[in-house]
Symmetry: C2
DNA sequence: GGAATAGTTGACTAAATTGCTCGGGAATTT
DNA sequence: AAATTCCCGAGCAATTTAGTCAACTATTCC
């Protein structure tokens, strides 16, 4: 599993999609502007997201992308898996011979670590993130209210 | 937090160090051979690990590296933090203005996710990995015994 | 039908990162 | 003194990241 800015961009974009996505599709141009990601890069990312059936597209005016599944069914791990190349995993390329001390070490252990991280990211869905987003918004409102009061007082 | 092959190499090397490290320092040449990582690359990685005080070095014949702390005090996150560049975190570069909807999203949420992953990796130490390694060895021995029995029978 | 909108695709590129070579040091042991 | 080993910097090929550009197709609206 690789965790790079690429995956971050993809998650951010998908989250934008999740937040804006009502009945109408969301345009890449809009995401590009709001999230400050270049349009062409988004095109590349969404090409993959579409091939992995995480989003669906509508062409023409009023078109754009929308999520192919409910928020709770799209995990962060799904998104990262979609935009990152297949990852050749370990250097021994799939030989599961645990006999050799080294293989066992580099292979098995790191894979276990990997699996655990995936496990976690598999359980963080867009729904989770949207919920947190709402929480955050709520907090901002509260802060503003508090600020107003302190200014008045 | 970035999770790349670089960090993987570093963790693998440190694990090798942990497994071999008795009273005598372990040479990079040895790690290089056992783990199939180029010596020069190891030198670069260990230069950072040393600067982060995760390892200590002894020069001259019979020299090498040894862990600067007990196994349980070196987490995978420590290692990755050491070899990966300071990571400029988010694009907004540290402005904590949650006011703006986008910043809040890309910044706060991803940072939370990050924190969670770190949280996990902070709790996986070399001691944890060594324990797993021993488990694995045990398994191999059992398998061999089973194989022997089935061959004899 | 024609214009505008948006996705689709492919080629190409600049910059950064990865992983490595080489060459020379400096410290330490024998 | 010689061998060993860490130390360090320059440089380099391959890959990845992030992006530009250009041509194309499907769709909607007029």
């Amino acid at each position: 599993m690789r965790l790079t800015t690429k995956g971050r961009f993809a998650v951010t974009a998908m989250l934008d999609l999740a937040l804006r996505g009502g009945k109408n599709p969301v345009t890449l141009a809009g995401i590009s502007e709001r999230q400050d990601i270049s349009l062409s890069y988004l095109e590349q990312l969404f090409s993959r997201l579409r091939r992995h059936e995480l989003v669906e597209s509508v062409r023409g005016p009023g078109g754009g992308y929308y999520l192919a599944r409910p928020l709770g069914d799209v995990s962060v791990a799904d998104i990262i898996r979609a935009v990152d190349e297949p990852i050749d995993s370990t250097q021994c390329g799939g030989k599961e011979n645990c006999q050799d001390e080294h293989r066992c070490m580099t292979h098995d252990l790191w894979m276990g670590l990997n699996a655990h991280i995936y496990d976690y990211l598999d359980n963080v869905t867009l729904a989770t993130l949207v919920a947190k987003q709402d929480e955050c918004k709520e907090k901002v409102l509260q802060d503003r209210r508090a600020l107003k009061i302190s200014l008045v007082a």
